[in-house]
């Protein structure tokens, strides 16, 4: 029983990690940037989702609005922050990204206060019994929603012109450019989708805990960095598998080695152990 409950917990967190980490992998695979500020966009998504839900009373309306808005912010970050320093050594973009993330967190704190906000009336909190477990509606929504969104995106990437252009650019930017694909357009698209996904994940986690706070981006996104390494950096399928694996490992780890290290350390211990055995990541090619 405990086993099933832990597994379900792991699955829920795994889905959320996947939704965050896919955006990071997309950015990395196209630009080789470790986009730490992604965490800020995740938190921004949470804030916007909550504020819009409180204002309109409808989550259905708030979620896509928040995702689109954060997507646009993501594109702006690419245009004004990353594009001018792409030719520099990789640590330049990394440190710039960290600075941006700190600044975003502080802006949330200064505007919305350090203690965070809660939903006026948190949606999807009804519980019901399934297989002997008590499950909240929001948990089902997270799992189904993530699978649906990621599934649709993967379908679109295979069956639309833009999707095919995007995949070609990830494989070989120079070749893609020589076929007349606008690399710039693909990069914008990439940041839009990745950031929108982060926003969705932010809204999910705010529903799960009925809370948004300035520092909410930190821990999940550090873990997302660990996940994209496990997934083999830039490998989307690998990232998805690694997310689920990490979610489940954490859920069990908290119970079995929880008094030796805390939950957040488990993720990194797992990553380090895996990297020692498979230095290219779980799903990375050689």
């Amino acid at each position: 029983m405990l086993f099933l409950e832990l597994f379900a917990q792991g699955l829920i967190y795994g889905c959320m990690y996947a939704t965050i980490a896919v955006g990071l992998t997309l950015v990395y695979s196209l630009l080789r940037i470790l986009h730490v500020a992604h965490a800020g966009l995740f938190a921004l998504g949470g804030y916007l989702g909550l504020l819009l839900t409180n204002a309109t009373g409808s989550l259905i309306l708030a979620l896509p609005l928040a995702a689109a808005a954060v997507g646009v912010v993501g594109m702006a970050i690419y245009r004004f922050c990353y594009e001018p320093i792409l030719h520099r050594p990789p640590y330049v973009a990394l440190i710039a990204s960290i600075g941006l993330f700190i600044a975003l967190e502080e802006i949330f704190r200064l505007i919305f206060g350090p203690y965070g906000l809660t939903y006026a009336q948190a949606p999807l909190q009804e519980t019901f019994a399934m297989g002997g477990m008590t499950i909240r509606r929001v948990e089902i929504v997270i799992v189904v929603g993530s699978v649906l969104i990621l599934g649709i995106l993967s379908w679109l990437s295979r069956h639309t012109r833009l999707g095919v252009a995007w995949r070609a650019t990830v494989d070989d930017p120079q070749m893609a450019a020589s076929f007349g694909i606008s690399v710039l357009k693909v990069r914008y698209l990439n940041f839009f989708i990745g950031s929108a996904l982060a926003a969705v994940a932010g809204v999910f986690i705010s529903l799960l805990s009925n809370l948004v706070e300035p520092t909410m981006g930190g821990v999940p996104s550090y873990k997302a960095l660990a996940i994209i390494v496990l997934g083999g950096l830039g490998n989307v399928t690998g990232t998805l598998c690694a997310s689920l694996l990490l979610g489940v490992t954490e859920a069990f780890g908290t119970i079995y080695i929880g008094n030796f290290m805390d939950r957040d350390a488990i993720a990194f211990a797992f990553m380090i152990v895996v990297l020692m055995v498979r230095p290219q990541g779980l799903f990375g090619g050689r």
Binding site: P90, L94, G99, E105, I107, V229, I266, A269, M271, L275
Partner: protein, 287 residues
Amino acid sequence: MGIYEISLATVVGINVILALGLNLITGFCGQISLGHAAFYGIGAYTTALAAQSGVPGLVSLAAAMFAAAAIGVVVGLASLRVRHDFLAITTMGVGFLFLGIVRQEDRWLGGELGISAIPAFGLSKPGYLLFVLLLALLTAMLSGYINRSWMGFAFEAVADDEDTARVVGVDVAAYKLAAFSLGTALAGLAGGLYAYFTRFIVPDDFGFITSISILSMVAVGGIGSTTGVILGAGLLTLMPEFFRFISDYKLLVYGVLLFAVMRFAPEGLAGVGRSWLARWRLGRRAP
């Protein structure tokens, strides 16, 4: 100089040692580390435990350096196995792992509450300040010496292009390990000095934010430049004091500064200094 200024100057000295250590790894040898605070912490905890069991000051500082460097070599060995762009995240993981273990370990390390009542080093406050500044000066001299030696030459080659370094006969792995062990030993020393200075340490002193602050000192000062990094460490340590009148905004200013330096002057203070100097020389040469 009042007590307050003395404390501030001591912290500057400690941070200079810490930042120069990271500069050895990241600046000279080109290996990004996002977990330097873990080695700082290892040094601090080692010193705290040693001091509490009655070990004399200098010995426990040496123990701190040794412990940090030992773990540093292990992390360095691990880093040799992973792809180059994994290293930043692996070292970040090491930082979180350290923190996660220290927080849960409440029998020896005091868990979340840390270790308090660490015995004094045995110097007065101004005396301790002089001791720290002396060590910072020695570290700066060592750093400058390494940069001019053939070891520094090899570091430069490894940082520039590992594959090319190999084909001119550089044992890339050995030099990376050397950089890791020297840099983390300095972090250990800084940690030990910090433990004797505050005489009270908690896990959060050595978290991810600290790692980022150290990296910022290096980056803002100018990666690879000893003088630049000293200036960077001084500036970023004192900056929150300059901005005390807007203390609520100090982290925001910090984040924006970090971003702005990377965006507009990626070579840091040292780079800005160099280009001014070049312009000045050009101006003098022109009629």
